[in-house]
């Protein structure tokens, strides 16, 4: 699966007619300059050589060479941006899961107006461009109410701290984690304040899908025999819903989480740009602005690998949680 995805990316990048080097320059550019660029990037070799070189570069974590400046490998640059993306997606995911499960359960329990409003919320939030929601947040909470900082990961003057374990100094780059581990409370509060708006905007947009899935699964589970049996035994409705039905309704949601991770990343690209968080997504957008298309493609490959690995983890997790899959 991963190989197929990587190969598709390769075919699109190198085999189809279309040339990132030509896109970078005006049509009137000196052909010698274009040729030297093409040569430096190794794009003038035969396609099959390029394919193996590309896989070789991936194995070494290089993800291709940047067209800007001195043809540096893209990989390390992406990795330095990754913690911010990870932090944003984790918190957004938590927001999405909480909103989704709560609203979904709520809707499934109360057919009628409440249920219909939950459904409409699901459709509405699904249609929201995440950066538009982010802008509204910035406008209301940042600019009008002055409650939260509008952009960045930390306020100027607050420096990220590393934490020590014995003689080693660690820095995960995930600011909320680093600051807690090193006991730097000011940094923690500052980092959280910067994260609230982007994580909520992204989380809310993703939550639409969670709401729908939780609701559908809940409805199905509530109708199943074991719930009827629990009712017949005279258990309280609340116990039935939260400890019997919800637990079973959540299982399929884990699979969906795997699929939604892709949408979460796409949303993270836009959210990071909107809130000026220096993550992989805003790196991608930066490179687009500099017309550095080889770096753009390297980042795309990185995201492809990331999505495939998350998919694999979700599959394993699912097999662990649901014994039926292992049979």
């Amino acid at each position: 699966m991963v190989m197929i995805l990587l190969s598709i990316v390769f075919v699109v990048m190198r085999v189809l007619p279309g040339n990132p080097v030509l896109l970078r320059f005006e049509k009137t550019a000196d052909p010698a300059l274009v040729a030297s660029f093409t040569h430096q990037l190794g794009l003038d070799k035969p396609v099959y050589v390029q394919y193996f070189e590309y896989l070789w570069q991936l194995l070494h974590g290089s993800f291709g060479l940047s067209m800007a400046g001195s043809f540096e490998p893209v990989g390390p640059q992406i990795l330095s941006r990754f913690p911010a993306t990870l932090e944003l997606t984790i918190y957004a995911f938590i927001v999405a899961a909480i909103v989704g499960v709560l609203l979904g359960t709520f809707g499934a329990q109360r057919p009628g107006v409440a249920d219909n409003s939950v459904k409409i919320f699901g459709v509405l939030i699904f249609a929201f461009p995440v950066f538009f929601l982010g802008m509204i947040f910035q406008l209301v909470f940042g600019i009008w109410l002055h409650l939260l900082p509008v952009s960045g990961r930390l306020s100027p003057g607050v420096t990220p701290t590393s934490f020590s374990l014995g003689t080693f100094h660690f820095e995960t780059g995930i600011l909320t984690l680093d600051s807690i581990l090193s006991g730097n409370l000011t940094e923690f509060i500052d980092a959280v304040r910067h994260l609230v708006m982007p994580a909520t905007a992204l989380g809310l947009v993703i939550s639409g899908f969670f709401v729908r899935m939780t609701r559908a699964n809940m409805l199905e589970t509530i109708r199943s025999d074991f719930v009827t049996a629990a009712r017949a035994r005279g258990l309280k409705e609340r116990t039935i819903v939260y400890s019997y039905a919800l637990r079973n309704a959540l299982l399929p949601i884990i699979t969906i989480m795997g699929l939604q991770f892709a949408r979460l990343l796409a949303g993270a690209i836009l959210t990071e740009t909107e809130f000026n968080l220096l993550g992989v997504g805003s790196y991608l957008v930066d490179r687009i602005t500099f017309l550095d298309y080889t770096a753009v493609q390297g980042t795309v490959v990185f995201l492809a690998l990331l999505i495939s690995s998350v998919g694999l983890i979700v599959d394993i997790l699912y097999a662990y949680l649901d014994p039926r899959v292992r049979l």
Binding site: M1, I4, L5, I8, V9, V12, M13, L16, G18, N19, P20, L23, N116, K119, I120, V123, L124, F126, A127, F128, P129, F131, F132, M135, I136, Q138, L139, I143, W144, V150, A216, L259, A262, R263, L265, A266, I269, L270, T273, E274, L284, V285, I288, T289, Y293, V296, Q297, V300, L303, A304, I307, S308, G311
Partner: protein, 296 residues
């Protein structure tokens, strides 16, 4: 025999039309959603088509009013940072985004559908290989795939539409394929075959009418997603020309004036994108609700 064939054909065509239109009649939540959605999309379409007639000013005219002027009687939606009239820009701004969406959906329908139908009906190794490729593409975020394609081919309306179409073909393929796989095993399909129906007849007359509802659902979702993806591409700098009146571009550049408290540029352009995407989503949601009783 001849009369038999005729009686069999007639209800068939009726039922396909009925599938398209019938969810609009009767009562209920699904119908209300569909009507609201249709209303929104109709409003936006009419507005975009009539833009040259109804727009009060030239949307690209710089310095019509003072820059960043709040909504007033003269400029009901205010002006942007170049003093252009926002109302005119909003009226004109749907043209490209909708054009890209329509083109993308048409490309998807003409490529994704036949491949899905044929692949599932024929089965075998080709089908399995295609499904694998489509599944890997499906797992990939649409926006990122579109970014990659545009980074190779450059920005233009047709490239935008193609990139978005490539992103969505797998979902058409998957939906059509899974439906056909189950329908082709139905006894009535066997009955048709034994009555002498050839492959084209089986596909068109027996299988297609049962796939069409899911195709409508997926195409409307696709519309909404194309609009959001195009706006996303505008936002990250892969949009069309900067001076075109376009909701996505106005939203992107409008945020530069956000710290000054200029809310009208982003709120109006953003709401239009939201309304367009929401309109199509509502149609899809309502239609699914009406045609698939399991959702109720």
């Amino acid at each position: 025999m001849k009369t038999l064939q005729k009686t069999r054909e007639k209800p068939q065509t009726v039922s396909v039309m009925a599938k398209l239109v019938s969810p609009l009649f009767g009562k209920g939540y699904g119908r209300a959603l569909m009507l609201v959605g249709l209303g929104m999309t109709l409003f936006i379409t009419v507005m975009s088509v009539l833009a040259p007639v109804i727009s009060p000013y030239d949307p690209t005219q710089i310095g019509l009013g003072p820059p960043n002027d709040p909504p007033s009687a003269q400029f009901p939606m205010g002006t942007d940072q170049y003093g252009r009239d926002m109302l005119s820009r909003i009226i004109w701004g749907g043209r490209f985004i909708l054009l890209v969406a329509v083109t993308a959906v048409v490309i998807c329908l003409t490529i994704g559908l036949p491949i899905g139908l044929a692949s599932a009906y024929a089965g075998g190794n080709v089908d399995r290989a295609l499904a694998l490729v489509m599944d890997s593409m499906y797992a990939f975020p649409g926006l990122v795939l579109a970014i990659m394609l545009i980074s190779v081919f450059g920005v233009s309306i047709i490239n935008d539409a193609l990139a978005i179409a490539v992103v969505f073909i797998p979902s058409y393929f998957r939906v059509v394929r899974s439906q056909v796989l189950s329908i082709k095993e139905m006894p009535y399909v066997d009955a048709g075959k034994s009555a002498g129906a050839g492959t084209p007849a089986v596909l068109l007359r027996y299988i297609w009418p049962n796939v069409i509802s899911s195709v409508i659902v997926i195409a409307t979702v696709n519309f909404a997603d194309s609009i959001l993806t195009t706006a996303g591409l505008d936002f990250i700098g892969l949009g069309l020309q900067v001076n075109l009146p376009d909701w996505g571009i106005d939203l992107t550049y409008g945020r530069q004036a956000l710290p000054l408290g200029v809310w009208w540029t982003i709120v109006f352009s953003g709401s239009m994108i939201l309304m367009a995407a929401l309109g199509f989503s509502l149609i899809s949601e309502g239609y699914a609700e009406r045609t698939n009783p399991k959702l109720r």
